[in-house]
């Protein structure tokens, strides 16, 4: 499977990573090489095999549905690039 420039542009956008138009051909080439490497997986007979969901057979723990943690707005905002009046601030989202 080879990735063309349009696909590379689309993947970069899906991943929310800005890539210059001039860098797209090289990116497409790199991604194609890696995908070619992955194509070996097509040699394996996986008929009837269930995809792994958990590497250790373990029942997830359950607990009562109640608040056990929280109430530290200040700490949560302390690392924000832009926090105002108790909120994270971002560029305008809604027109």
């Amino acid at each position: 499977m080879s990735i063309d420039i349009d696909t590379a542009r689309r993947v970069a956008h899906l991943a929310r990573i800005a890539v210059d138009e001039k860098d797209l051909p090289a990116l497409a080439g790199e991604l194609s090489n890696i995908l070619t490497f992955m194509e070996q997986l097509n040699e394996v007979d996986v008929e009837g095999v269930a995809p792994m969901t958990s590497v250790t057979p373990m029942r997830l723990k359950r607990r009562e549905d109640k608040v056990t943690d929280g109430d530290y707005q200040e700490q949560i905002l302390s690392n924000a690039p832009d926090a105002r009046e108790g909120f994270f601030a971002v560029p305008k989202v809604v027109e």
């Binding site: 991943a15 990573i17 997986l41 723990k61 690392n79």
Partner: protein, 493 residues
């Protein structure tokens, strides 16, 4: 100076208890060594005040009696672990300036036992790399040298490996997603243990691939790995995949008696083009275990060949999801925006500036294999192959194999920059012997057992049964004693 920093954990523990040395003395010695070793690029955030404060507290606790084994032991912490009030940036520019308000469970467990944090250690960005060359801090350098070249300490836990091998600290934490503890340990001639998936809590460890990530100790001896794992491991309600199982006494398991144990030698690990030295090292390892009374059994793990491609689907897929959180909103870097830029441009510019090339590559590969139309062909297929790889191991363990012996790496440490022009896939091949263990969730340990022609360390890997780190450590202990590896790098830094 520098004599105390050379001690093993076990030696220091005994000296501390006997009152022959104080933790403050040990810590000061390590801090001086660290300050003289900037050329190694191992410590990237030094925390001498915290260290001396904890050392004084540890001394008081030891004096009062009943101190845990790790009490007063100076260690380094990989930058991937969140440490309260101390920069924790996973060696990424996108987490520039991030100082967590909380402490990871593993580093908290160590602190609760009185261990002394000396600082944070270099690594590949988000633990993605095998040479510590993707770090925003610059390279970590291997203390071993055989010519003019600076060699890689391996990756991703390269700073941890370099610091322990150069005696800047007594031990260090590492994390291992595809070999990131065991490969660097082998490259610098120390012991590195990746526990069974679920043995150590992942809470507060910056996530790379959540179904593969495990924290573990990187130490100067197998006994030290046992002691440090005891402190790091254990159930944590804050990590739903952490196992609620009682911990065995790992150090007590080191009896040196492996008579009657069945050690598997997987045919598929004999790779085409494997250097003779690695082959010879492996043969010596087999002989050592045989001489100790173990039975050597040829085994087959038929899906080994597909482990690397499966890993390079599963790990980037999980990474693309985990790293979606770095969006410039809640923490870390945010790009400066141009007039009229909206939130989308903010995300895209922030992530383009903050992530290095290897991280970008893996996030995009992960995005691709999870995208509509390709999910089944890549991601689901890889998860099926992963199930088959795990079954390979289950089959040999069910047939009575107790542990598996393999080389740890396909070569000795290579020069920094030597892989710069290589295809990324070439770098991925470093993990060929270690990655199966992560895919199957098993414990693995790298033990230094020899030197190559040029005088660089080489290691062997033992793979254990799930939750049988105790037994695996004991076999590693036998290997360590038989190999008698005592070489140290000579100081040039």
């Amino acid at each position: 100076m520098g004599e105390l920093s050379k001690l093993t954990i076990a030696e220091a523990r005994d000296k501390l208890r006997a009152g022959e040395v104080s933790s403050v003395e040990l810590t000061r010695d390590c801090l001086a060594e660290i300050d003289g070793a900037d050329a190694l690029g191992a410590f990237v955030h030094k925390t001498p005040e915290i260290a001396l404060e904890r050392a004084a507290a540890a001394d008081a606790r030891i004096k009062a009696g009943e101190a845990p084994d790790m009490c007063g032991i100076p260690v380094g912490i990989k930058d991937l672990f969140c440490t309260k009030g101390v920069a924790s940036q996973a060696a990424s520019a996108i987490l520039e300036g991030f100082t967590p308000e909380y402490e990871s469970t593993v580093s908290q467990n160590l602190a609760d036992d009185g261990a002394v944090m000396l600082g944070k250690l270099n690594m590949d960005e988000f633990a993605m790399g095998s040479s510590n060359e993707t770090s925003t801090y610059g390279n970590a350098v291997n203390p071993w040298k055989v010519d003019d070249r600076d060699l890689t300490p391996g990756g991703s836990s390269g700073g941890s490996a370099s610091a322990v091998a150069a005696d800047l600290c007594l031990a260090a934490t590492g994390t291992d997603t595809g070999g990131s503890i065991r490969q660097p340990a082998a490259f610098v001639g120390i012991t590195g243990l990746k526990p069974t998936y679920g043995r150590c809590s992942r809470w507060g460890v910056v996530a790379f691939a959540s179904s593969l990530d495990q924290a573990g100790p990187m130490t100067k001896s197998v006994r030290d790995a046992a002691i440090m794992l005891q402190s790091m491991a254990g159930h944590d309600p804050k990590d739903s995949t952490s196992a609620d199982l009682a911990l065995p006494d790992f150090e007590a398991a080191l009896t040196g008696d492996i008579r009657g144990k069945r050690i598997g030698i997987p045919a598929e690990y004999r790779m085409d083009g494997m250097p003779d030295e690695i082959e010879a090292l492996w043969a010596e390892g087999r002989k050592m275990l045989q001489d100790a009374g173990a039975e050597i059994v040829d085994i087959s793990l038929p899906h080994t060949k597909y482990a690397l491609p499966a890993y390079y689907v599963v790990a980037p897929a999980e990474a693309s999801s985990n790293l979606a959180r770095y969006d410039g909103v809640r923490y870390g870097h945010r790009a400066t925006l141009a007039a009229g830029d909206g939130i989308e441009q903010m995300y895209e510019k922030t992530r383009a500036q903050g992530f290095g090339p290897e991280v970008q590559r893996r996030v995009m590969i992960g995005t691709y294999v999870l995208s509509a139309g390709f999910y089944d062909a890549y991601y689901n297929r890889a998860r099926k192959v992963r199930a088959l790889i795990k079954k390979d191991f289950e089959d040999v363990f069910a047939a009575g194999i107790d542990a598996i012996l393999t080389p740890a790496t396909p070569s000795a440490a290579f020069g920094l920059g030597e892989m710069a022009d290589a295809d990324p896939v070439q770098m991925y091949l470093n993990d060929v012997f270690t990655v199966t263990v992560n895919l199957a969730g098993l414990p693995g340990i790298a033990v230094p057992t020899g030197l190559d022609k040029s005088g660089l360390p080489l290691g062997l890997q033992l793979i254990g049964k799930p939750w049988a780190e105790d037994e695996m450590l004991n076999t590693a202990y036998v290997l360590e004693r038989a190999a008698g590896f005592v070489s140290k790098p000579s100081k040039w830094w």
